[in-house]
Symmetry: C2
Subunit: 267 residues, 2 copies
Amino acid sequence: MPVLGYSAALEHFGPTELIRWCQESEQAGFGGVMAADHFHPWVPQQGQSPQVWPWMGALGLATQKVTFGPGVTCASYRYHPAIIAQLAATLAVMYPRRFWLGIGTGEALNEHVVGGEWPDAPERLERMVESIEIIKQLFTGKKVRYSGKHLRMESARLYTRPETPCPIYIAASGPKTAETAGRLCDGLITPAAPQEKLKTLIESFEKGAREAGKEPAIMPKLLQLHVSWADTYEKATRYPFTRRFRRLRATGAPRRFQGAGSHLDRS
Amino acid sequence: MPVLGYSAALEHFGPTELIRWCQESEQAGFGGVMAADHFHPWVPQQGQSPQVWPWMGALGLATQKVTFGPGVTCASYRYHPAIIAQLAATLAVMYPRRFWLGIGTGEALNEHVVGGEWPDAPERLERMVESIEIIKQLFTGKKVRYSGKHLRMESARLYTRPETPCPIYIAASGPKTAETAGRLCDGLITPAAPQEKLKTLIESFEKGAREAGKEPAIMPKLLQLHVSWADTYEKATRYPFTRRFRRLRATGAPRRFQGAGSHLDRS
């Protein structure tokens, strides 16, 4: 049974209005929130880029039951994966069974801030895999140490943890990362794409999952769609951001989507 | 007029109980919360160490008017200062005039996690000064770039910012850092110490402040005290943590301090 979620565009809106829109989206029946983790907006004109981690701390308290997580965070440049593990574990303790950790390979837009060269996709995937290994080891609660090809962690232990670790979902738009997601983690996040591409992606994810002895059918697949909703087609297509910011992932207040649930068959 | 605050020992207690105790402390008349930023507890027996940044995001929503901040964060090892600037600016936007940023030189206990050697005090002070320079530059809202002796930042700009930057307080227990605090920042944080030592510290802070053309008398000085409060002296001194964890900074639920305000003349 699909769940309709709200994509909180923290690379575009202020933190207080986004909390309010998430409350409204929950009241309107949305079941989840995916919160962007950016340092910079996609384009300066968007004008905002609040920090997602304290924002999610407030979100959990401001809402009743929506599941939520960063969509997605990169745990291998700006943040050390140990920090991400601690952030995720704390939110999972504060909001039981509601928090999930979305991980990706990062965007230069945000990650370049801390310096260093920006590697090609294969190295970014290697770094992401190492960051997930560190996070999963810390989630066990054991004292761990890590020395990978790219990342390193001295002896560390995570003290505040939920009974069951929060799920980890990986953002993928190519088959190799999707397969890694299936093998290493608990779910897949991907943006809207032509059906043929999505089919290949899901198949790769399922292949990875089966190789690791998991049942892919019950593993969450989060699809991020751009939606412009209005009571007429004309008004919906007039929405300015779809033209101005081609890379914009989520737009507008959920107030505008209030009837969206009843139109699921059309969308 | 002194303000009595509550020291939220995130290196010792779980996040949910600490939120509740902060709510109770506010109801009992406490005016502020200082929240520890640890990766590890001081000693494993303390058993908890939730992440302070999402916790503060929830704290602001769970309370009405207490001022709060990390006491203290280190922006020069585990976290890149750009991340701390974004975290602080977002909380300052979400909770206007309530958030302050407490900065220190770090503890190996927490900072060693991300690897690298642990330098001596002089270098740690240099790194702290550089981290504050980066944070203050980002707080202006301009596009900035930084290349110091220790820290580096590629071009970055903070989009979500309060109208007036949040105050920055520095943790100091020696005269050199205290003077730096007065010169560079807006206030001083220090743990309890013999009166003579505190006098020297405050004088150093005031000297630094005056050199920078500031009026030290109106700049906040946060003193962190260990308190064991009960209705009899015997019960208060029986409190186990004061014996077991000599380095423990703050203990117990504010419930135990409910009458503390009325005893200020005795403390």
